[in-house]
């Protein structure tokens, strides 16, 4: 290859052609080195990686000719931009909101999902590497921002699908749910499943799915369980009454509406009559 480029240089036919050739050679070298590095090193060291990047990653003419966003379909896509490796703080914006995602077409949402997924993979990888290096991962809330966006995107897609099914079939088109009683007498949401056999022909299902309750033991359990629930409720109401009384005793000009909002179980008129509410100040 080297001799060939020399010949071309001597002839000096087209200067650009030589440039193109040399660049082709360079880019091939980069690829070979990159793949061998990954095979050799099992544990990836951030700083070793960075040094290596400085050595080999040079701008080539190819990139200059075809102007696109940097497309690196290799393992380095799991890592952050090397510029950010030493930074204490990586600044990013906020997550996507539902109202903003509602403006976007299905195709764009589909693409955005993969952008977010790749970003999340990258962040989780970086978090793991920083942990291995015993260093602080800068701005860990980035993961939560991406996850928030992903959850919002999913809910927008679900909203659209639900609208379609409601129009076409009158149902939501989602996995159906029904309220059932467990053998302990507790009500829960049973999520139905899809089977190839009808219910009467599926004997295994009947063995593993028992609904409904009965018997002395279960009714005793339920009695005690309800008593426990009631006690919790009673205690929380008493606690709220006591707290409102304390607040009335301490603060002379309480905003009663705000108190009512915060302590809905306490009966304010009743609390006012308690001895506990008398404060050491004159009330108007």
């Amino acid at each position: 290859m080297a001799t060939f480029t020399k010949i071309v240089q001597i002839s000096r036919a087209v200067n650009n052609v030589t440039k193109l050739f040399t660049n082709l050679v360079l880019s091939q070298n980069i690829n070979s080195v990159r793949s061998s590095m990954f095979i050799q090193s099992c544990k990836i060291n951030v700083y070793a990686m960075q040094k290596w990047f400085k050595l080999f990653r040079m701008p080539t003419l190819q990139c200059g000719l075809i102007h696109t966003t940097s497309k690196r379909n290799d393992l380095m896509e799991f890592f952050d931009d090397p510029k950010n490796w030493d930074k204490d703080k990586v600044r990013v914006g906020r997550s996507w909101r539902k109202d903003e995602l509602r403006l976007k077409s299905n195709e764009e949402l589909h693409k955005l999902w993969y952008v977010l997924l790749k970003e999340r993979n990258m962040l989780l990888t970086m978090e793991e590497i920083y942990k291995q290096e015993h260093k602080y991962f800068p701005n860990p809330e980035r993961i939560d921002k991406v996850e928030d966006s992903m959850a919002n995107l999913e809910s927008v897609v679900r909203e659209r699908n639900r609208a379609y099914y409601m129009l076409e079939t009158g149902t939501t088109g989602e996995r159906p749910v029904s309220l059932r009683y467990s053998p302990l007498g507790l009500r829960y949401r049973y999520r139905l499943r899809q089977y190839s056999r009808p219910k009467h022909a599926n004997s295994e299902w009947h063995k593993t799915h028992k609904f409904g309750y009965g018997g002395y033991a279960v009714s005793k359990f339920l009695r005690l369980y309800r008593e426990k629930l009631w006690n919790e409720k009673r205690k929380s109401r008493n606690r709220q009454i006591n707290r409102v009384a304390t607040l009335m005793r301490i603060f002379p000009n309480l905003d009663m509406e705000a108190v009512k909002e915060q302590y809905p179980l306490a009966d304010i008129e009743k609390v006012k009559k308690l001895r506990k509410t008398d404060g050491h100040f004159v009330r108007d």
Partner: protein
Amino acid sequence: MRLITTLFGKMGEWSKKYANLPDRYIDRISERVLWRPPPGKPQYLNRKIVANRKLYYSIHRPWTTHFQFQNWILKHRQWYPLEPIKDWSFFRGDRVTVLVGPDKGKQGIVHDIIQERNWIIVQGLNTKAVIFDKRKNFPGICRRIEQPLLVNVQVKLVDPSDLNATSIEWRYTEQGERVRVSLRTGRIIPIPVTSKETVDYKSPDIYVEQAKDTTADDVKELTFEAKLKTFEMDIMDKMDIKEDRIPKESYWY
């Protein structure tokens, strides 16, 4: 009831404003997980066990290690009486007068808000001397640390027209704007610009877009068209995927 407890467990709007952190992160970092299923083991249900304890809020914010240390130790905390406030009226950058303590009568600027305790921290006022790093052969370094002040009793807002302390009321202007009005002079006390400041930007309109941010114009662009298709059907049409297999009969139960 559970709804109420969860609502009160959350942080106030103004106390997390400056840090500019998403709620999901704050919840994740402040919850105390006792057990979570080991990774890569599908036989465990994807449920974690979280200590069902109310968080204790002090001057340390939930994203700091101080907060996590304070909440990690299993100490029984007494209930602290807290006057319920409907409209929070102290913002970052407000000028206030301190009514108690060694700095009684002095005016300062609100530096930090802790809504969970009805507290504000006034810059440079109501301080406590703390000696750090004291050793046998070293006397230590003294630092004055601002202590929190209760908003309903210990501070008052300052009227900008005469620079005296005043109590305030929220009222509406003729344009329908909600403003704080001084009860003594009837002047409007404007909400400072610093209240919008976060660690990332001074004000939202001068935020510098970063490399990975989507530009505002791209976000606002409307590309959605209503079609009689589900998301999956639309994507399949766009990618020329044809599905002509007839699904087998199935039963839901």
